[in-house]
Amino acid sequence: MKPEFVRNAAGRAVLKVINGETAVPYRGVGAHTPEGRKAAPPLARCADYPADGNKVVADLKTALQMAGLRDGMTISSHHHFRNGDLVANQVFDAAAELGAKDLRWFPSASFPCHEPMIRHLDSGVIHHIEGSMNGPLGAYASEGKMRGTGVLRSHGGRYQAIQDGEVHVDIAVIAAPTSDPFGNCNGVQGPSACGGLGFALADAQYADRVIVVTDNLVPFPCVPWQIMGNHVDFVVVMDKIGEPEKIVSGTTNITKSPDRLLIAELTARFVEAAGILRDGFSFQAGAGGTSLAFAIFLRDMMRARNIRARFVRGGSTRYLVDMLEEGLTDYILDGQTFDLAGVTSMRDNPRHIHTNPFVSYNYHNKGNIASMVDVVVLGATEVDVNFNANVVTHSDGRLLHGIGGWQNCLFSKCTILPIPSFRDRIPVIVDEVTTLCGPGELIDVIVTERGIAINPMRTDLIAATQGSGLPIRPIEDIKSDVEALCGGAPDKPAFTDNVIAAIKWVDGTVIDVVRQVGE
């Protein structure tokens, strides 16, 4: 059957039906109204669980069997180890041994360490992945080898999809660095401590069956319990669930590139010139090298002007932790930690608050934290002249990154993308993004080493920074300079008609699709 397309409000042709289910095309920011009630897990009763609270079973295979693993189920997996996860691969190894087929893997994120999943995709154990895909899995999907259509969601969108019943999780597997036999668990203690378990909240709340996997079983009670054992069916103990040293994933070092340092410095100066830097303000800076450098420049300005933030959003790193300890911010509100200093701080510092996508990012909610943040700096692989941005595909059309919290953070009062104007000859500012992930109306400022472009819609920011001495230029001028340097506008990648993945907006609508790359 030939797939049917519909043009969404952003002008993108998107699938009407994805993996057999009808999808809603993107309608614009805030234009889609959800209806009905939240999903709910089945009712349970205490009589079916050990009265002594001991839910430990022999191994993953046993737990999956007891959870009623069947063909076609949706298995979610959650871990905070980024590229150091040791659990998800074992879940599907066990499922394969049990002869399961056509499973939907619904991870909170996939990383290059999940390359072994390709075997299960090839053999039919996994039908398709709904979650970020990069590295080997991204290449696999980009080449059209996955049977189903991938679905990429933001952190908030993942919560929303589960909450709204758009994705029903049959079995959730949560990697928990410390748990008690009842399933109360946290991410801040134990040899594999990784920080919070916030991303697993939706899985725990809404899945039919919940399996906690740990390598550090402690007697009841496990305190703090970031996830309550009352959600949990089974507990599995393993030798090692993750490699916390790989949480770092090479991203939490400040950039040494002089160009990126300049971009970070210009970003901080912009924030100051725009009047955002004032007592009680808040900011969010991710763990990329440029974002970290921005935080350092901002910190120095805060010190010099004796300014204190009310809160800072992570993912935290030792640099944010230092700011908290120095009293430059009252709180860190943190969904995930990117280095071990962040983990320790979350455990020991009561002002380092553990958050989850429900409170931070879920769009089908009575408000969330993301829109309260004064300024957020985010990355992007491409931005177009209308400030639309792409974070999931490389300019050559291949899946490169997950969305993470990126889409959710766009709702901040001021969204800045500090990005180089070109990477290895590849211009970053284009006429039209390869894949639309964030609408330009939510993206306020692009900071490149060749100048700062302000979204013409933000007349307030334009007025505030006039006469600041900052190199503010029209986005088209930066684009044409870079194209002159790089030898003209780049060619577009060639795609086949085959859609390999859909990109969801924060409200569950389809904002774009990714097609298979051509020969």
Partner: protein, 403 residues
């Protein structure tokens, strides 16, 4: 089979390419291209390679290009170098010139910071202009290995044409003579603003460079400024003669690594061993009416040390400092920026000068004190520098009047 190659490829290489030309012994031309940017610029690269092969009249050869995102001017330079290495000569192929504004330099422009860029590494030069240095030096001397001098010369020539220097003075450091004369042949037609001459010991060397440049520029009326670098005991002794060797000299610079070795001293952070020489060069420069530029600060991680070193250079009377990392540039500018007291005083003098002009007086006076013309000139320069550094608004007179 004869073959030749130029450029670099492999892990860690960016913005460069490796071109290998091999004589195939049969008719025809075979071009193979492996590129990191194949999807986006494969078509453009193939068209460029076809054009280059036609220009260099290549046939009966295999041309293999391994590209790590090189810009067109780099691909062309590597190709030209490989052809030269194979045949001993190649007619230059010039990339399209940058079409943006390229301001002309001036004798007395600020030369607070000048950033050294290794001439044979394209990666660092492409974006060098964004860091706001007063001058960018494409270096053909110490940063280039002897076997790569030919490659660097062609790459620098193309860079001078193709890149946007964003208002920085376009400088080239040539090799010592006689090799430096070949460098001039390549770069002078591409309009550099200034040539740094290394290890100058006599005024004759400067005059030889000047004459060579004049022969190349002919009657086009363009002036190429010279900045001799004093790096030896003998050079220091001849500093005044060097500074006044010809009218093109606009500044004297100092190189301390070679100088300290030459006098048999160890280079220290505090620099007592070079104090006499710096003073001598500074005095010679001033006597000859040219700028005096201090040496580089080589610890790129020590920004506080750099700032102290710049402040010391300023206190001694120097106009500028060399930079070996872009992040040093803002620190150098901060160090040379006039202090508040200097600005206040300079404002008073400039206003007194304005008043004298208005009233048609020949003499400028502040209170009961007469102000000499060099002091007025210095005050004007202080004001310009404060405006350039962004610490004084351009319309300070109006703003002060309103206040």
């Amino acid at each position: 089979m004869n073959s030749a190659e130029a450029g670099r490829a492999g892990k860690g290489v960016r913005s460069d390419c490796l071109v290998r030309i091999t004589e195939a012994g049969v008719e025809g031309l075979r071009i193979t291209l492996k590129s990191k940017v194949e999807v986006l610029y494969g078509r453009a690269n193939r068209a460029l390679l076809d054009e280059l092969c036609a220009h260099f009249d290549l046939s009966g050869v295999d041309v293999a290009v391994e590209d790590s995102g090189a810009l067109p001017y780099t691909i062309a330079a590597r190709m030209e170098t490989a052809v030269r290495r194979l045949r001993g000569k190649a007619a230059p192929w010039l990339p399209p010139a940058w079409t943006g504004e390229v301001p002309l330099s001036r004798r007395d422009r600020f030369r607070r910071s000048r950033l050294y860029l290794p001439g044979n590494d394209p990666k660092l030069a492409i974006n060098a202009g964004v860091h706001g240095a007063d001058g960018l030096i494409l270096d053909l001397e110490d940063s280039v290995a002897p076997a790569e001098k030919d490659a660097a010369r062609i790459l620098v020539r193309n860079a001078l044409r193709a890149l946007d220097f964003m208002g920085a003075e376009r400088m080239v450091r040539i090799n010592q003579l006689p090799l430096g004369l070949e460098d001039l042949d390549a770069v002078i037609p591409q309009n550099p603003d200034l040539i740094l001459i290394p290890k100058v010991e006599t005024p004759e060397q400067v005059r030889e460079v000047d004459a060579h440049i004049r022969a190349l520029t002919g009657d086009d009326g363009r002036e190429v400024f010279l900045m001799p670098i004093i790096e030896s005991a003998k050079g220091a002794v001849h500093a005044y003669d060097i500074a006044s060797a010809c009218g093109s000299v606009v500044a004297l610079a100092i190189g301390l690594e070679d100088y300290t070795a030459d006098i048999g001293a160890e280079r220290t952070l505090e620099g007592k061993e070079s104090l006499w020489m710096r003073g001598a060069v500074l005095n010679a420069a001033r006597a000859a009416g040219v700028q005096a530029i201090d040496t580089v600060f080589s610890d790129v991680t020590d920004m506080e040390g750099l700032l102290a070193s710049v402040r010391e250079a300023k206190a001694l009377g120097f106009d500028g400092k060399g930079c070996i990392h872009p992040r040093q540039i803002p620190v150098v500018h901060e160090g040379f920026a006039p202090t508040e007291a200097e600005i206040t005083r300079a404002k008073k003098i400039v206003r007194a000068f304005d008043a004298a002009e208005r009233e048609g007086l020949g003499v400028v006076s502040l209170g009961s004190k007469m102000i000499d013309p060099p002091v007025v000139k210095r005050a004007q320069r202080t004001i310009t520098m404060a405006v350039t550094a962004g610490i004084l608004p351009e319309d300070w007179k109006e703003q002060d009047d309103e206040a």
